[in-house]
């Protein structure tokens, strides 16, 4: 066995894989959060729909997205495999086990929390990502009303979707005003309609709670695995891990389905 396989198949190496893929997924959450905040803009979804075109056509983002899909699969399935592998290290269970006396609940349930997140990711991607790329998302036409400068979004039927694709890609890079109208796939409307479903909103909120607990332990744990446990930096790592990843991000994401459900 050469040293690379030896390193990554050791217990420490497998931890390293989980830490690196986990932190990469954390960095994605920030991008996803910032982008999706455009859902809260009062522009009939124009900014969000333009952003969706950008995210699915920009070559750099497309390349990174394949890395991201690989990281999600790797992190999830490696994590599940590790849970079962670690269970084998204790074939006979304790009759009395007082876990809460010495460790946080989230740190002992990363596998369960991760599985909830994985189920969520599958539902989430099949609802929006799959529909956008391979399914049917209706088109809409944005125009500026001459009188009061307000935006209007009118759904339109598109018969030749392939032709439209090239057409919208050219148009969205230029702001409305330079062009008379913008025709894009109306993902905003899909989001709006999707989040009228109570069960979907509930799933999103449960998943975001799971994400919060997963990252409460996961973020600082990743740094420990990388060997970065130092009193000079632990404060900052804890602050970002709890403040940003366990509180801000899950609340921000949970606010989106809630906003559309109540709206």
């Amino acid at each position: 066995m050469n040293w690379i396989t030896k390193m990554f198949s050791s217990s420490l190496g497998q931890k390293l894989i989980m830490a690196l893929t986990g932190l990469f997924l954390c960095s994605f959450l920030i991008i996803h959060m910032v982008g999706n905040l455009q859902l809260f803009k009062h522009d009939a979804g124009l900014a969000f729909n333009k952003y969706a075109v950008f995210m699915t056509t920009n070559p750099l983002i497309k390349t990174t997205s394949y890395l991201l899909y690989a990281a999600i699969l790797f992190h999830a399935f490696k994590g599940i495999a590790l849970v079962f592998q670690n269970k084998k290290a204790r074939p006979v269970k304790y009759q009395a086990f007082d876990g809460k006396a010495n460790s946080h609940w989230s740190s002992r349930n990363m596998g369960v929390l991760g599985t909830i997140i994985l189920v969520f990711v599958v539902v989430h991607m099949s609802n929006f990502w799959w529909q956008y790329k391979f399914g049917h998302v209706p088109y809409t036409k944005y125009t500026v009303n001459v009188g009061d400068n307000s935006l209007s979004s009118i759904p339109i039927d598109v018969t030749n979707e392939d032709y439209m694709k090239g057409f919208t890609e050219k148009l969205v890079v230029r702001p409305l005003g330079q062009v008379d109208e913008i025709i894009v796939k109306d993902l905003y409307r899909s989001v709006e309609l999707g989040f009228k479903e109570l069960w979907l909103v509930a799933l999103y909120i449960i998943a975001m709670a799971a994400l919060s607990f997963h990252l409460y332990h996961g973020f600082k744990s990743a740094f420990q695995t990388l060997g970065l446990n130092h009193k000079k930096y632990n404060g900052a790592i804890n602050f970002i891990g709890i403040g940003v990843f366990a509180i801000l991000i899950p609340i921000g994401f949970a606010a989106m389905p809630l906003y559309f459900f109540i709206k």
């Binding site: 040293w3 390193m7 497998q14 670690n86 084998k88 290290a89 876990g99 010495n102 420990q224 130092h230």
Partner: protein, 251 residues
């Protein structure tokens, strides 16, 4: 005090074990937990109905690392920074029911009752937890300068008595805290430096082959460690290991 015990009884490594109820009466609050077991064993021997309960112990002053009871769901019982022999009955209430089990890990097979085989730790130490020097007269201490901070940290790591509470506490039965303490105590000192790469590589390889689980940084090990070995040692173990794999000629 009167104490109700539920003790794991198992004839040998191959037989099935189970919890057996015992009532111990007239326990002094000043007895150690092990002395309470001595009283119970005295009774079992004099009654002649049951074999005495097998449990490990040696120094009974918290430095040998032999005692190893999993008490009410926690290694070495409810108190912080003590071994089972340093746990006194005043930490319990009259009439309490206490569940006592052996360390549970595939790498620590039960020998009998509460005694487990911890020779996996010995094999890990034998794989690299030492320095190779010819013995002889001690050299002058001033010829080998060591920073105070490093000396302190190495000493704190060296306080590990190898009892295995870390393995018993960990939900994955990981021995990472033990291995990291042993790697750290030598990695922090100049005497340990010449063999630092082979040491960490061999010890981690031996640890993995013994069937311990992996560390998921729950921190249970450090919280239950009678010598309060810090989790920073596990971070150091990770650094030492990846530095040795990525940067040394060894593999």
């Amino acid at each position: 005090m009167n104490i109700n015990l539920k003790v794991w009884r198992q004839k040998n490594g191959k037989s099935q074990g189970k919890l057996v109820d015992y009532k111990v009466e007239g326990v002094s609050p000043d007895m150690s937990f092990l002395e309470m077991f001595d009283v119970l064993n005295d009774r079992l021997v004099s009654e002649g109905k049951d074999e005495p309960i097998a449990f490990d112990h040696d120094c009974r002053e918290g430095i040998c690392g032999m005692c190893s009871m999993y008490i009410n769901g926690r290694p070495h019982g409810p108190n912080q920074g003590v071994t089972t022999c340093q746990l006194h009955m005043r930490s319990f209430k009259d009439g309490d029911t206490i569940v006592v089990e052996p360390w549970r890990a595939a790498a620590f097979p039960v020998i009998k009752d509460l005694a487990v085989d911890r020779s996996a730790f010995d094999r890990i130490i034998a794989s690299g937890g030492f320095i190779s020097v010819n013995t002889g007269n001690a050299q002058d201490a001033n010829s080998l300068p060591i920073a105070k901070d490093n000396a302190d940290e190495a000493f704190a790591a060296a306080a590990c008595i190898g009892c295995g509470a870390c393995v018993a506490a960990c939900k994955n039965s990981s021995s990472m805290l033990f291995v990291s303490a042993k790697v750290s105590q030598l990695a922090l000192l100049p005497q340990g430096d010449p063999e630092r790469n082979t040491r960490v590589l061999n010890m981690v390889a031996q640890m993995d082959s013994e069937g311990f689980g992996a560390c998921t940084n729950t921190g249970a090990c450090s919280a239950e460690c009678p010598k309060e070995i810090s989790l920073t040692n596990i971070a150091r173990l990770n650094r030492e290991y990846f530095a040795a794999q990525l940067g040394s000629d060894r593999s």
